[in-house]
C-alpha cells in the first residue's frame, strides 16, 4: 500500500476518512464522478460489479449506484448533490435501497492538491449514532448477509417443496 488510509469517528454521528493519492486532483475528481471510471474501482471486488452508475453532476442532480454480486444479488444506493465545486468539493446525500440504517447520510468529499499529490477527505454524517454504527458494519458485509438471506429463502422453498 502506497498511501495509508486513516479512518476516524470525529463524533457519534460521523465517519471520516483521509487518504493521499499520487495524482493531481482533477484526475481524482474525474475518477470520483465519471460513471465509466467509478465502475473500475468502487466496490468492485469479490465478484461484485457496479452494474448501474448514473450521475447528474449538478446541484440538485441525482446519482444512483447499483452493485451486482454473484448469484444476482443487488445492492443499490443513491442521493442528491447539494454542493459541487470542480475539482475540489462534493456534498451529497446518500441512502441505501435496503434501508439498513435509518434516515439519510450526508457525504462531503474534499480534494486538496499539493505538489501534484492529492489528499482526499471523506466525511459521512448520519442522522443518529445507530445509523453511523450500522454503516461501520460495511456495505459489503451487508451484501454477504443478503446473500445468506437469499440462501435461507431457497432452502426454505426446498423444504416446503
Amino acid at each position: 500500500m502506497r498511501n495509508a488510509l486513516q479512518i476516524s469517528t470525529p463524533s457519534d454521528r460521523e465517519i471520516a476518512m483521509t487518504r493521499s493519492f499520487d495524482a493531481p486532483r482533477t484526475l481524482v475528481f474525474e475518477a470520483w464522478t465519471k460513471p465509466e471510471l467509478l465502475k473500475r474501482w468502487l466496490g468492485v471486488h469479490n465478484g461484485w460489479s457496479l452494474a448501474i452508475c448514473e450521475i447528474d453532476l449538478n446541484v440538485g442532480g441525482r446519482y444512483r449506484y447499483v452493485w451486482r454480486g454473484l448469484d444476482g444479488i443487488e445492492m443499490g444506493m443513491g442521493g442528491v448533490y447539494r454542493e459541487i465545486v470542480v475539482p475540489e468539493r462534493i456534498v451529497g446525500t446518500e441512502r441505501f435501497d435496503q434501508a439498513w440504517y435509518p434516515g439519510e447520510g450526508v457525504g462531503t468529499v474534499t480534494l486538496v492538491e499539493t505538489g501534484g499529490r492529492t489528499t482526499l477527505t471523506q466525511t459521512l454524517l448520519y442522522e443518529s449514532r445507530e445509523a453511523r454504527d450500522a454503516v461501520l458494519r460495511s456495505p459489503m458485509e451487508k451484501g454477504v448477509a443478503l446473500a445468506y438471506d437469499k440462501l435461507d429463502e431457497i432452502l426454505a422453498s426446498l423444504a416446503t417443496a
Binding site: 498511501n3 482533477t26 474501482w41 466496490g43 470542480v86 449514532r129
Partner: protein, 122 residues
C-alpha cells in the same frame, strides 16, 4: 457476528463516562467505589453505567463477593473493532483500485495535454 450484541456494544461505548470506566478497567479490576472516585457522580449513577456495560458484555464481576470488583471483557470490544476493520478493508481495497486507475489515467494524460481547470461554484 451477533448484530444485537454489537448494537449493545456500540451503545455502551457511546458514552464518555462509560469509555472512561473501560479505560480504567483496562489497567486492572476495580470496585464500584474505586470506579466512582474520579467522577463527580454518585455511586448509584456509576452503578447504572456499570449495568449498561455489563449488559453489553463489556465488563464482568469478579468472584470476590464482598467487593465484587469489575473487570474488562475483551471479546465484545474485539468484535466491535472487527467491524471497523472490515469497513477499513473495504475502503482500502477501493482506494488501491483507485490508485491503479489514477496511474492509468496519468499515463493517458501524459500523451495528451490536460484540459484547462474548470471551475463551477454554486
Amino acid at each position: 457476528m451477533h448484530a444485537a450484541r454489537l448494537d449493545a456494544t456500540f451503545a455502551a461505548l457511546a458514552d464518555p463516562t462509560r469509555r472512561a470506566i473501560l479505560a480504567r478497567l483496562a489497567s486492572g479490576e476495580a470496585s464500584v467505589t474505586e470506579l466512582a472516585e474520579p467522577f463527580a457522580m454518585s455511586q448509584p449513577a456509576i452503578s447504572k453505567h456499570l449495568k449498561v456495560l455489563e449488559r453489553a458484555g463489556l465488563i464482568a464481576s469478579a468472584q470476590d463477593a464482598q467487593r465484587r470488583p469489575r473487570r474488562l471483557e475483551a471479546k465484545p470490544l474485539a468484535e466491535a473493532t472487527q467491524w471497523l476493520e472490515n469497513y477499513r478493508r473495504f475502503w482500502e481495497g477501493n482506494f488501491e483500485r483507485l490508485d491503479s486507475l489514477l496511474d492509468a489515467l496519468k499515463a493517458e494524460h501524459g500523451r495528451k495535454p490536460l484540459k484547462p481547470k474548470q471551475r463551477k461554484r454554486v
